[in-house]
């Protein structure tokens, strides 16, 4: 029993460290365990400690455990008392105990200092415990971090590989910003140094990867990057694996720097693939040669387009073929690990093939291979096969090949037990659908819909609707399909779907009659879904006359049919039906009396719902007063809708996020030129999800001088009464705090009773990142929150903002800014949200000014004046004389100039009261050096000048900013008037 628990704990601690490392590094490889330098015996040599832990675990109840721990803690505290000197062994022992107590779930608030002391020990075990304690317990804001960093630095420079490894592991485990700051330069150096041991290199690569993930901005890109690429040629496969992980991450960020890795990766891959399974010894996993490395290399290649060099390309193709060939070979082992490893490599190879999308033979082979997997016993394999096939379906080379598997996929849809696999099957069907098989696929999906899982029904409905529309050959089929859809899964048919049917029916004359007939028949079912009633009401209201000739569907019968559903419907549907009734009055004068009777009933005229009541009153009056001519004009047939993107597609895209379907959809659209003629609605206007598009309706309604009887919120008559949004007056752009941010980066930009907007930004060369914080100062939610940025000369990437901001909560949005050109106008941030029923719009100028992209430059007095004199041309200089509104404090001015972005050059100017600055403005296209000189003049006269090149825009900016220096100084005002002169000079150089 005792032994068991000891082993349990030790393996727990051990696993914890190694697992943690593995987790941090994503080191899913076998070398993580087998090559780990730590052995159990070295870790816990003391029998006493082992017994001690055993005692803990055999503690009886929770209370007993707490008592025991209190006692132990008191004992350790008395040992750690300042006046006693502890030897390394007992220090290690007690730190280890503390760590164990912490792992049991108790708070530890002392012992950190002792742990740090252990770091400077020369014994491996003591160091190991010290690092373990620090990785687990020290948080990043501790004041000990400097001591720890120092100890790590010593170990890193110790040349003892074990110690270096420990230190690197610690850096990676903690992975905080402070650590990154301290070691961002050191780790890459170790990584590429020629004399570093293999195991240390491995750790260094993974450590760097971790730092790169936590604080990518701190890792300097330097000449080491090119040498990292060469690690792919390393003898030691562990190093290669670690380096590949690192390169993948780095290459995703700056692909250009790592282009050379492609050829190396291909070479390495082909060596692995062609090697016999025993060649790699330790790195052969169940007869598969280095599967992790292969997968990583294949993934690295996916960061780049197909290699241009024919030789490399040939070699890569050969590799991929070999991998595909290997999949056909009989398995060398029955073990699941073997097949898993093999398949992992295979799937990664297939995704590379799909990524390249250039070798038809490979694509077809991949497709056939996946086809085999579709019927595999293993559920995971089937899932993966379906997923990959989905991607393959979007390639023109393999689309046909994928289509051959349609029967299998449909079968999977019907018989598969796992819902996620069925979901993939639906995706694949959607992806492989084209004109030839649309009818079959839609029919299958519809029949599946009846038994489908609730979670995926809505998606299937959308997909069916899209496919039906896209590949419809005749519209009768389309109308039938959609009505079927509503019948089968009415609850899951979103607004967009039935809006779309109506749009299409109205736009196409040839289906109107058929549609009216079909809905009329569909409505005769005793129980029909509300969505069907909506469609029915709308279509009969518009085109009821087309079927009125048939005595079985005479106007009165039509009306009675609709009205029989009236009382079962919700308010919006009833409103729609009322509009349909008034249209009937126009279409069929013979039922006018009946309808007026209905409208006149108390249940309509005195309805509790304002909307319904108003419609009833207005329609009744309209039908009584207006002449037939007027009625005919007012209640004319709806004009056709403008062509725009299918709102359903927009909805599906939104639902899936940036998922595979939408991507495929886009790529397919690009590739296939107008698959289905006029019916293919390619993106023209912005996607809008309402039936009419509010803007369009109003215009259309005004044109035809008719009250738009269809939509409920946008109706002109109704506008006055309904709770439509109050029209917010176009707000002017708020700039009040703008100038404050010229010289600083953080602060509160805007504040009113509802909202506070704060900024935090950082800039480096021509790149910047701005965190915008929206604080809700109220207690209620902001709904429909959105914030967008308008700008031309800046390339701005925005993270989407959450549409709901809770009361008292704060929302963060990140803008990644790239300066393309010199610019004058700062971007405008427009914020919209709904607060308590009213829409709020706020436009604020964001303080992103040209001076943010300044890099300070240090230069000597001689250099400065030499350049100053060079910039003599009039268009290179701006000079402005202005009055300082307040007394000018030297220190404050200095701070302002530094905040402005230039370097403050002390002692450069012969006149000590003058301020001199220099800096380079970075934009993507050009870099412009600027010199600045500020000459305060105490005699109430001063001038300011800037020397500048011909770029007027930037010149202007600098002038305005210049004034802002003055403005900013008002903050520290004392009321005295001082005047000074400011001169900017700058030089324009292309790619200096």
């Amino acid at each position: 029993m005792l032994n068991m628990t000891v082993i349990y704990f030790i393996s727990y601690l051990y696993l914890r460290t190694s697992l943690k490392l593995m987790f941090a590094f994503c080191l899913h490889s076998d070398e993580g365990l087998s090559k780990h330098p730590v052995s159990l015996e070295t870790l816990y040599p003391s029998i006493k400690i082992k017994v001690y832990f055993a005692l803990f675990i055999s503690g009886k109840s929770k209370e007993a455990e707490i008592k025991r721990i209190n006692k132990e803690l008191a004992n350790i505290r008395s040992k750690f008392k300042g006046d006693k000197a502890l030897d390394g062994y007992s220090k290690k022992k007690y730190v280890c105990k503390l760590l164990f107590i912490f792992l049991l779930g108790h708070d530890i608030d002392f012992g950190h200092m002792e742990a740090v002391n252990l770091l400077s020990s020369n014994k491996y075990t003591e160091k190991q415990i010290g690092y373990l304690f620090i990785s687990v317990l020290v948080n990043s804001n501790s004041d000990l971090i400097r001591l720890i960093n120092n100890a790590i630095k010593n170990d890193l420079s110790s040349r003892n590989p074990t110690f270096m490894n420990l230190a690197l592991h610690c850096i990676a485990n903690v992975g905080s910003r402070e650590m990154a700051e301290a070691f961002a330069a050191e780790v890459p150096r170790i990584l590429v140094a020629g004399d570093t041991m293999d195991s240390v290199k491995q750790s260094a690569a993974l450590c760097l990867l971790r730092l790169n993930r936590t604080s990518p901005d701190l890792i300097p890109m330097g000449e080491w990057t090119s040498r990292v690429v060469h690690l792919l040629n390393d003898q030691h496969l562990g190093v290669v694996t670690a380096a590949t992980s690192l390169i993948i991450t780095l290459a995703q960020k700056n692909p250009d720097d790592f282009k050379t890795s492609v050829s190396l990766a291909v070479a390495r891959l082909s060596r692995i693939v062609t090697s016999a399974s025993t060649d790699l010894q330790d790195y052969t996993y169940y007869f598969v040669a280095a599967p992790w490395l292969s997968v990583k290399l294949l993934r690295l290649l996916q960061c780049y387009p197909p290699p241009e060099d024919a030789a490399i390309r040939g070699r890569l193709t050969e590799c991929l073929e070999t991998i595909l060939n290997k999949a056909q070979e009989p398995p060398k082992s029955k073990k699941v690990q073997h097949s898993n490893a093999k398949n992992a490599v295979l799937f990664e190879a297939i995704s590379l093939i799909i990524h390249h999308d250039s070798e038809p033979t490979l694509l077809v082979r991949a497709c056939n291979q996946l086809g085999q997997f579709l019927q595999h016993r293993e559920t995971n394999l089937r899932y993966l096969a379906l997923e990959s096939m989905c991607m393959l379906a979007s390639s023109e080379f393999s689309h046909e090949a994928v289509k051959t598997h349609i029967e299998t996929v449909i079968n999977a849809l019907k018989t598969e037990r796992d819902v996620s696999v069925r979901q993939r099957a639906v995706d694949l069907l959607y992806a492989m659908c084209d004109r030839s098989n649309a009818k079959q696929i839609v029919a299958e999906m519809l029949s599946y819909l009846e038994t489908a899982d609730y979670s995926i029904r809505e998606e299937i409905v959308l997909k069916v609707a899209i496919l039906a529309e896209k590949y419809a050959v005749d519209y009768t089929w389309y109308v039938d399909t959609i009505l079927n859809l509503i019948r089968i899964a009415g609850d899951y048919v979103s607004e967009e779907v039935w809006y779309r049917v109506i749009q299409i029916v109205i736009n196409r004359d040839d289906v109107q009659g058929y549609a009216a007939k079909t809905v009329f028949e569909a409505l005769q079912a005793p129980a029909c879904h509300e969505n069907l009633v909506k469609v029915g009401g709308y279509i009969l209201g518009e085109f009821g006359n087309l079927i009125a000739g048939d005595p079985r569907s005479s106007p009165l019968i039509q009306f009675n049919l609709l009205h029989s559903k009236f009382h079962l419907c919700s308010v919006p549907t009833r409103a729609l039906l009322l509009s349909a009734y008034v249209k009937f009055i126009n279409l069929f004068p013979e039922v006018k009396g009946t309808i007026q009777e209905v409208l006149r009933a108390d249940s309509q005229l005195r309805n509790a719902d304002v909307e319904l009541q108003q419609r009833a009153v207005e329609y009744l009056r309209l039908s009584c007063i207006a002449s037939t001519d007027i009625l005919a004009t007012v209640l004319e047939e709806m004009p056709p809708f403008p062509e725009r993107e299918s709102s359903i597609l927009a909805k599906l895209k939104k639902k899936k996020g940036s998922g595979t379907v939408s991507d495929m959809e886009d790529s397919r659209k690009e590739r296939s030129t107008n698959v289905n003629g006029s019916n293919d609605h390619i993106v023209t206007t912005s996607p809008s999800s309402d039936l009419l598009g509010l803007g369009h309706t109003q215009a259309a309604a005004l044109n035809s001088a008719s009250p738009p009887v269809t939509s409920n919120a946008a109706s002109l008559l109704v506008d006055v009464f309904t709770e439509s949004l109050p029209v917010v007056p176009p707000t002017s752009i708020i700039e009040e705090n703008f100038s404050r941010f010229v010289c600083k980066n953080n602060g509160v930009l805007y504040e009113n009773q509802l909202l506070q907007i704060g900024l935090k930004s950082e800039f480096r060369q021509n790149l910047g990142r701005m965190y915008v914080f929206y604080g809700n100062k109220t207690t209620t939610q902001f709904l429909n929150f959105s914030a967008s940025l308008v700008c031309q000369d800046l390339n701005i990437h925005t993270t989407p903002a959450d549409p709901v901001v809770d009361g008292g909560a704060q929302l963060q949005q990140v803008f990644n800014i790239e300066c393309l050109l010199d610019f004058v106008e700062a971007p405008v941030l427009s914020v919209h949200f709904r607060y308590g029923g009213s829409m709020q719009n706020i436009s604020i100028r964001l303080p992103i000014t040209l001076n943010k992209f300044f890099q300070p430059t240090e230069m000597t007095s001689q250099e400065f004046f030499q350049r100053w004199k060079q910039l003599g041309a009039p268009q290179q200089e701006v000079q402005k004389i202005f009055k300082a509104k307040h007394s000018m404090d030297t220190e404050v001015t200095k701070a302002k100039i530094i905040g402005f972005g230039t370097a403050l050059l002390d002692g450069v100017d012969p006149n000590p009261s003058n301020f001199v600055g220099a800096g380079v403005i970075h934009t993507k296209t050009i870099q412009v050096g600027c010199l600045l000189r500020l000459e305060p003049n105490t005699q109430a006269q001063a001038s300011c000048s800037v020397k500048r090149t011909h770029i007027h825009a930037a010149l202007y900016t600098l002038m305005t900013i210049n004034c802002n220096i003055d403005y900013c100084s008002t903050d520290i005002s004392k009321g005295k008037i001082k005047i000074f002169k400011c001169i900017f000079k700058s030089q324009h150089s292309q790619n200096k």
């Binding site: 009886k60 109840s61 929770k62 008592k67 025991r68 209190n70 006692k71 803690l73 008191a74 004992n75 505290r77 008395s78 750690f80 008392k81 300042g82 779930g105 608030d109 002392f110 950190h112 501790s142 004041d143 000990l144």
Partner: protein
Amino acid sequence: MIGGLFIYNHKGEVLISRVYRDDIGRNAVDAFRVNVIHARQQVRSPVTNIARTSFFHVKRSNIWLAAVTKQNVNAAMVFEFLYKMCDVMTAYFGKISEENIKNNFVLIYELLDEILDFGYPQNSETGALKTFITQQGIKSQPQTKEEQSQITSQVTGQIGWRREGIKYRRNELFLDVLESVNLLMSPQGQVLSAHVSGRVVMKSYLSGMPECKFGMNDKIVIDKQGKAGASDEAGKSSGKQSIAIDDCTFHQCVRLSKFDSERSISFIPPDGEYELMRYRTTKDIILPFRVIPLVREVGRTKLEVKVVIKSNFKPSLLAQKIEVRIPTPLNTSGVQVICMKGKAKYKASENAIVWKIKRMAGMKESQISAEIELLPTNDKKKWARPPISMNFEVPFAPSGLKVRYLKVFESKLNYSDHDVIKWVRYIGRSGIYETRC
């Protein structure tokens, strides 16, 4: 109504499981174990609601007793039942421990069958139960028809708690007034809250079916009598103190109708030991001890504590088993204690200095001083300074309750009130007796 009753050991293993209603499934046993016994942070509330099932639990040393129900029951009733259940078990086999429960599991199931019927509590009077549920198993000689019918008539009859035909050579009566006094005091000596909860426990060995009457210095009774005999007994009644009882509950044998109308406590007592009444008072409490703490922080690494206790009762009386518990900060690294009387020790496992004094007379004073060394930590939180708590036992009732009389009438048998030997004892104990420091 109670749907089921489970008893667990400290590990959460089920020792006893009895389900009375079908709405309680097997998974309820596990639900309580997972959510309460094995919960990461300790569950403080005695009532836990898991998936619309309510669990009422009490804990006796390492044993958990949990009653389960799906209905909206009277929680007080359930707890009353659980406590009663504990009493019954203690009366049968002594301390409630895992081993005792395992050894007596047949008995416990038998008891559970008897005292709970379809989830409704039944007769849980130990004396009555002992007549037909015995620990010896089947008696050697089979019970006679008469005995069986006697039991039936007793259990179903009006006086279920006492059987007929009891005979004692010596008629004896023991009466204990047991009180526990609870206090929370500010460092300056201001009483923040104080109350006494007391019990009157009796042990009666009386023959026949005697009628008893119990009288104490209840304020309402005294005032009433004072008014009635104002002329002749005015001087006498004013000299007596009386106490105001806030609320009281009685054993089922007490005639409540009589208490409501006359406020007199009359009853036919069960045979053996039972608890006659429970009460609570909050006014005019005699606080037997006063604790005066003095805590001084000397820098960041040292703490000086001095605690004085004063006894506040008649010098002729002796308090016993006095224990003062002085909490120490969590970063204590060493403690030196000096005390004049008793023994004091730093107990690291409980984070406290425990000072024990065997005996102490009234109107005395004693003190302890301690130096506590602290280890500087990087935790910025200040020490919360938990209150100093105290335990003791005194031979009087801190509420001031006095037994005025206990009369016994037995008309059929020829013994009178004078022939009964009566013993009265007062014991005051500490409940939660705390002083802030």
